[in-house]
């Protein structure tokens, strides 16, 4: 399994990453190496096997519908350099 440059760019777009032109070929190669290694999972027949999402076989315990938290407005907004007293700010988005 390998990907070409176009697919590389599509993946980078989905991941919101820039791949500088001069690194494209090296990264492409590096990814293809990993993908080759990954291919080995196809060595096994898994037709009758159920996927295992978590190693612990357990059900989630839901929480009660209660308000257990309070406002963190100050603490949260102060973590961003681009916020005013009320909102986070991002470059204007046109919908």
């Amino acid at each position: 399994m390998s990907i070409n440059r176009k697919e590389l760019e599509e993946i980078a777009a989905l991941a919101q990453l820039n791949i500088p032109e001069q690194q494209v070929s090296q990264i492409n190669q590096s990814l293809n190496q990993v993908m080759n290694m990954i291919e080995h999972i196809n060595d096994a027949n898994t037709d009758e096997v159920k996927p295992m999402a978590h190693p612990n076989d357990a059900w989630q315990t839901p929480r009660q519908d209660e308000v257990s938290d309070c406002s963190h407005k100050q603490a949260l907004l102060s973590l961003s350099a681009h916020a005013d007293e009320d909102h986070y700010l991002v470059p204007k988005v046109i919908e």
Partner: protein, 481 residues
């Protein structure tokens, strides 16, 4: 002082032969003195938190064994008001407004936070060469890597900059650096330690654990970290476990499984020799050695490198330059903000894994890779279940190689393949540890013990019994004495 166990330190504190401030001061000074050479610490707590000292004194009066003992936290754990960087430029100045549950539990036991340990960025790596704060050097040979991703934690403990450190293990990130640095390190069963506040890399694999010279130290601290947490839906509801140190080193009745193919294939003769010696030690003390097969384990690395990157690619999407962390300057539009913040903030290895993960989840590949890898995971887990119907623990290598020199290994599939002995137990969620079993070419060698689900007590007991009769865990690099 610095070669005392936690129990011994605790006894000194309890009998007032030393105060909490003095004890922490000793280690604080060592951190200052040795960080230049090891680079094990990213953030040193300049002033001890007065509240923590107070709490520690209270706990000491209540006979809490861990009260007043200093601890270093891997910089992947959120610590309230103390910078938490995950060794990444993305979080270089991030100060969380909350504590990870694991950290809170140790605070509640009276432990004192010394600082935050260096690591591979976002827990991705096996050499601690992928840190935005510089590589960590192995105290046994500063030209060599300490292992990763919990390299800073391991190096700091090996150099006795701290008596104990927390680490995290997703595919071997506690065990391998413990082996490389000649200390004991344990990854508990998945779900034992709450993941709340532990920055997520691969959610279905990550576990917080402990690194210290001895298994006994690990047991004491680990049991304080465990317990069901309502803030973590994957946290297990197993009853609280308390570590009990075994009285005798006798192993009669213990069935130890050995994957002989793994040992036979070891290319490093030194590691092979030490491994066989350790297994013989078990035999000499009454254990029965049984040959075991794990047929699907050879697919573990491939499956892991689908699952872990996939989960991390999604977990790391929250780092977008909007609400916290690295934010690109002069962003002209939203896409620029996202792409630039993330490209500038993440290191190369992290970006690579995000790309692999994004690809593995993308349409057309999801079933063929992600789902398939989860099926392999189940097969591997079943291999272990079968093994544990015949034996009580497994003893196996940690790493096929000794600690290598900086820059010697280019990150890539070679590096990934070196995790082949640690990844299987991670996929199965089993408790596992690495303990020091000697030296080869003057470099530490470790042995991995893997137990049944929730059987931390047993693997730590076996390690402790071994340490009752051997001295490897007491060794320290001369340069740091």
């Amino acid at each position: 002082m610095i070669n005392l166990s936690i129990r011994e330190m605790s006894s000194l504190l309890a009998s007032k032969q030393i105060s909490i401030q003095e004890l922490c001061g000793v280690y604080h000074d060592r951190c200052r003195a040795h960080n230049q050479s090891t680079n094990a610490i990213i953030t040193l707590n300049e002033e001890f938190n007065a509240d923590q000292i107070l709490q520690a004194e209270k706990q000491l009066n209540g006979n809490q064994l861990l009260a007043g003992i200093p601890v270093l936290h891997k910089d992947l754990f959120c610590t309230n008001n103390l910078k938490t960087t995950c060794a990444s430029k993305m979080l270089a100045n991030f100060i969380p407004p909350y504590d990870a549950t694991a950290v809170k539990k140790l605070n509640d036991s009276g432990m004192i936070t010394l600082g935050k340990a260096n690591m591979d960025e976002f827990a991705m790596g096996s050499s601690n060469e992928h840190s935005a704060f510089g590589a960590v050097n192995n105290p046994w040979d500063l030209n060599r890597v300490p292992g990763g991703s919990s390299g800073g934690s391991a190096a700091a403990v090996a150099a006795r900059m701290s008596p104990v450190a927390t680490g995290t293990d997703t595919g071997g990130s506690i065990r391998q650096p413990a082996a490389f640095c000649g200390i004991t390190g344990i990854k508990p069963s998945y779900g034992r330690v709450s993941r709340y506040g532990m920055v997520a890399f691969a959610s279905s694999l990550d576990q917080g654990g402990v690194m210290a010279p001895a298994a006994d130290d690990c047991g004491l601290v680990l049991s304080a970290m465990t317990g069901h947490d309502t803030l973590d839906s994957t946290s297990s509801k197993q009853p609280q476990w308390q570590w009990k140190k075994p009285n005798s080193p006798d192993l009669t009745g213990l069935k130890v499984g050995v994957v002989s193919t793994w040992i036979d294939e070891l290319q490093d003769e030194g590691i092979k020799l030490k491994t066989l010696e350790a297994i013989n030690h078990f035999k000499d003390n009454g254990a029965e050695i049984i040959d075991i097969e794990l047929p699907y384990a050879e697919l573990a690395v491939s499956a892991y490198y689908v699952l872990a990157p996939a989960e991390c690619s999604s977990n790391l999407s929250r780092f977008d330059g909007v609400r916290f962390g690295h934010q690109a300057e002069n962003a002209k539009d939203l896409e620029y903000l996202y792409r630039t913040s993330r490209t500038e903030g993440f290191g190369e290895e992290v970006k690579k894994r995000i790309m692999i993960g994004t690809w593995a989840l993308s349409s057309g590949y999801y079933d063929a890779y992600y789902i398939k890898a989860q099926k392999i995971r189940r097969l591997i887990s079943e291999d272990f279940s079968k093994a544990f119907s015949e034996v009580d623990i497994l003893a196996c290598p940690v790493s096929p190689e000794l600690p290598f020199k900086h820059g010697e290994k280019i990150e890539g599939v070679n590096m990934y393949q070196a995790d082949k002995y640690t990844i299987p137990a991670s996929l199965a969620g089993l408790p596992c540890l690495s303990m020091p079993i000697g030296f080869s070419e003057n470099l530490p060698v470790g042995l991995q013990l893997i137990g049944r689900y929730f059987d931390e007590q047993r693997i730590l007991s076996v390690a402790d019994k071994y340490q009752q009769q051997t001295q490897h865990h007491l060794q320290m690099p001369e340069a740091f004495l």
